[in-house]
C-alpha cells in the first residue's frame, strides 16, 4: 500500500464521523454480547452413566437464551444422551445415573424438589420421528394445555390452539380441518404439529432430536425456517447429524466426541475456524 507514513495517515483518517460510526458499532456489539451471554441452560460437571458404562464425561456448557444451539458429533458420541439430560428424559431408563448439575435459569433440575412434569413443560421436546397422538389436530394441541390447566375458557383454549399452530407455521394448512385426524397429515406437517403441541404449553426451552431426519428437503426447509423464527422467543437446542443444517440454523454449535464436549463456540467459528483439531477433522469428514 502506497502510504509514506502510515501511522500519521491512519490518525488523520480517523475523522469524527469515522469514530462515531466505530463507537455505535462497538456499542451494538457489546449489547449483542451481553444479550448472548445471558445463560438459560447450564451444565456443570455433568457425568452420565448407563449402568456401569459412562456415556458423558464432565460436561460443562452454558447455552445462551433465545438462541439456537446445535449439538453435532458422530453416532454414539453422547449428544442425544446429553440433550435428554436437559429435561430428565433419561430418568425413565432404569440403569441411568446422573452426576453433576443442569441449571435451568440457575435452578438445578436434578434437585429433589423439582416437579419433573412441570420441568418437561418448561423444556419441551420434539423427536426424530413425529409422534402425533391418534386424535384430531385440535385435540393434539389441546392435550397439554388441559393437563397443565393453562386455559380458563373454551375461547381461550381455541385462541391458544390457533396461536400454537400459527407459531409452528401450520395454521394456514390446517385451519379448515382441525377436527381431522392428525395421522392424516404429511410427515412434515406432523412434525410441525408436534412442535405446535410443544409450543402450546408455553415452554422456555425446546429440545429437538434430529427433527428433520425423516423428512424430505421441502419439509426440512419449513422446519428449519421455523427453528430460526422460534429463536426470537425460545431457546432451541437441536441434535443433528446434518452439518449443513447445523450451520444453517444455529447460532452456537457444540461438538461431542466419545462422551466429551470437545468444543463449543459460535457456529460461524466452528465451521470456518474451529480451535480443536478433532472438530476440524470431524466437520471436514476426516473421521466419523
Amino acid at each position: 500500500m502506497l502510504v509514506k507514513n502510515r501511522n500519521m495517515e491512519n490518525t488523520s483518517l480517523e475523522s469524527k464521523e469515522v469514530k462515531e460510526v466505530k463507537e455505535v458499532k462497538e456499542s451494538k456489539e457489546n449489547k449483542e454480547e451481553a444479550k448472548n451471554l445471558k445463560v438459560e441452560v447450564e451444565a456443570e460437571n455433568l457425568n452420565f452413566f448407563y449402568g456401569e458404562k459412562q456415556a458423558l464425561y464432565s460436561i460443562n456448557l452454558k447455552i445462551p437464551e433465545k438462541s439456537v444451539t446445535a449439538f453435532i458429533g458422530p453416532s454414539g458420541c453422547g449428544k442425544s444422551t446429553f440433550l435428554r439430560t436437559l429435561n430428565r428424559m433419561n430418568d425413565i431408563i432404569v440403569s441411568a445415573r446422573v452426576e453433576g448439575k443442569i441449571l435451568l435459569n440457575n435452578q438445578n433440575i436434578y434437585a429433589p424438589n423439582v416437579d419433573v412434569v412441570d420441568l418437561r413443560r418448561r423444556v419441551g421436546m420434539v423427536f426424530q420421528k413425529s409422534t402425533p397422538f391418534p386424535k384430531s389436530i385440535f385435540d393434539n394441541i389441546v392435550y397439554g394445555i388441559k393437563i397443565n390447566k393453562l386455559a380458563n375458557s373454551r375461547t381461550e383454549l381455541q385462541q391458544m390452539v390457533e396461536q400454537a399452530l400459527k407459531q409452528a407455521a401450520l395454521w394456514d394448512e390446517v385451519k379448515d380441518r382441525l377436527n381431522d385426524s392428525a395421522l392424516a397429515l404429511s410427515g412434515g406437517q406432523q412434525q410441525r404439529l408436534c412442535i405446535a403441541r410443544t409450543l402450546a404449553v408455553m415452554p422456555e426451552v425446546i429440545l429437538m432430536d434430529e427433527p428433520c431426519s425423516a423428512l424430505d428437503p421441502i419439509a426440512t426447509e419449513k422446519i428449519e425456517e421455523l427453528i430460526v423464527e422460534l429463536r426470537e422467543k425460545y431457546t432451541v437446542i437441536i441434535v443433528t447429524h446434518n452439518m449443513q443444517q447445523a450451520s444453517r440454523v444455529s447460532d452456537y454449535t457444540a461438538f461431542f466426541l466419545l462422551g466429551q464436549l470437545i468444543e463449543f463456540d459460535e457456529t460461524e467459528k466452528i465451521f470456518t475456524y474451529p480451535k480443536e483439531k478433532k472438530t476440524e477433522d470431524y466437520i471436514t469428514g476426516r473421521f466419523g
Partner: protein
C-alpha cells in the same frame, strides 16, 4: 482419500501453475525493461491468455467445490483463498502485460538515464510475488508476514524513482514521453507488490482464520 481432497489438490495445482506463469511474466518484463529487449516483453503479452484461462478454470472449480462438496473449516478457507487469489494473480499478470506495452514505447526511444533503482524495484517486486506464492502453496505464515513487510521497500523505491523522473523531465522537457511511460511502469510494479501483499493476507486467513486486510497487522 476424502472425495473433496482430489478437488482441493487440483485447485492447488492450478493456482501454482497460474502463479508460476505470472512469476515468469514479471521476470520477463523486468528483464525486457532493463535489457531493452522488446521481443521478450512481447512474449509476456501473448502468454497472458493462458493465465486468463486458468483463472476461469479456478473460478469454476472452486465454485463446484463450494456447491458439490460443501467444504468447512480448513477446506472452506482454502477454497475461498484459491477463489480470491486467482483474481489477484490475474491482475498481477495484467500489470505485467501493461508494463510490456509501455516497454514498446520506452525501448523505441533513447535511454533516459542508466537504471539503478528501477531494476532493484523490479527484483523486490518479483521476489515478493514469488514468496507470496510459495507461502500460499506451503501455507507458510512466517514467509507471508515477512513478505508483507517488504512492501515498504517497494513503496520507498517508488517515491525515490518518481521524484527522480520528475526532476529529469522538468530539466529536459524532451524526456517527458519516456519519463511518463516509466512513471506508469513504476506504478504497475508498485501495484504488483500490493497484490503480493494481498496474497500473503489470504495465506494468513487460510492458515489462521484471521482477516488482517485493512487492519494494522497488514502494515
Amino acid at each position: 482419500m476424502r472425495i473433496i481432497e482430489a478437488d482441493l489438490n487440483k485447485l492447488k495445482e492450478k493456482i501454482n501453475l497460474m502463479g508460476i506463469l505470472t512469476q515468469d511474466a514479471i521476470e520477463q518484463v523486468v528483464k525486457a525493461l532493463v535489457e531493452r529487449n522488446t521481443e521478450l516483453s512481447e512474449n509476456v503479452i501473448t502468454a497472458d491468455d493462458k493465465i486468463d484461462v486458468l483463472e476461469n478454470e479456478i473460478d469454476k472449480l472452486a465454485t463446484d467445490v463450494m456447491v458439490l462438496r460443501q467444504p468447512a473449516a480448513g477446506d472452506l478457507r482454502f477454497t475461498i483463498t484459491c477463489l480470491h487469489t486467482a483474481g489477484i494473480i490475474e491482475r498481477v499478470a495484467d500489470h505485467a502485460v501493461n508494463i510490456a506495452k509501455h516497454i514498446r514505447v520506452i525501448n523505441n526511444e533513447p535511454p533516459l538515464k542508466p537504471y539503478v533503482d528501477l531494476p532493484k524495484m523490479g527484483t523486490i517486486t518479483r521476489e515478493m510475488f514469488r514468496d507470496s506464492l510459495q507461502a500460499l502453496i506451503t501455507g507458510d505464515v512466517n514467509l507471508a508476514r515477512l513478505t508483507i513487510r517488504r512492501d515498504d521497500q517497494v513503496d520507498d523505491l517508488f517515491h525515490l524513482i518518481y521524484d527522480e523522473l520528475l526532476e529529469v523531465m522538468q530539466k529536459d522537457p524532451t524526456t517527458v514521453k519516456r519519463g511518463s511511460e516509466l512513471l506508469f511502469v513504476i506504478k504497475h510494479l508498485e501495484r504488483m507488490a500490493d497484490y503480493a501483499t494481498n496474497i500473503c493476507e489470504m495465506v494468513i486467513y487460510m492458515m489462521e482464520g484471521k482477516v488482517i486486510k485493512h487492519t494494522q497487522e497488514a502494515f
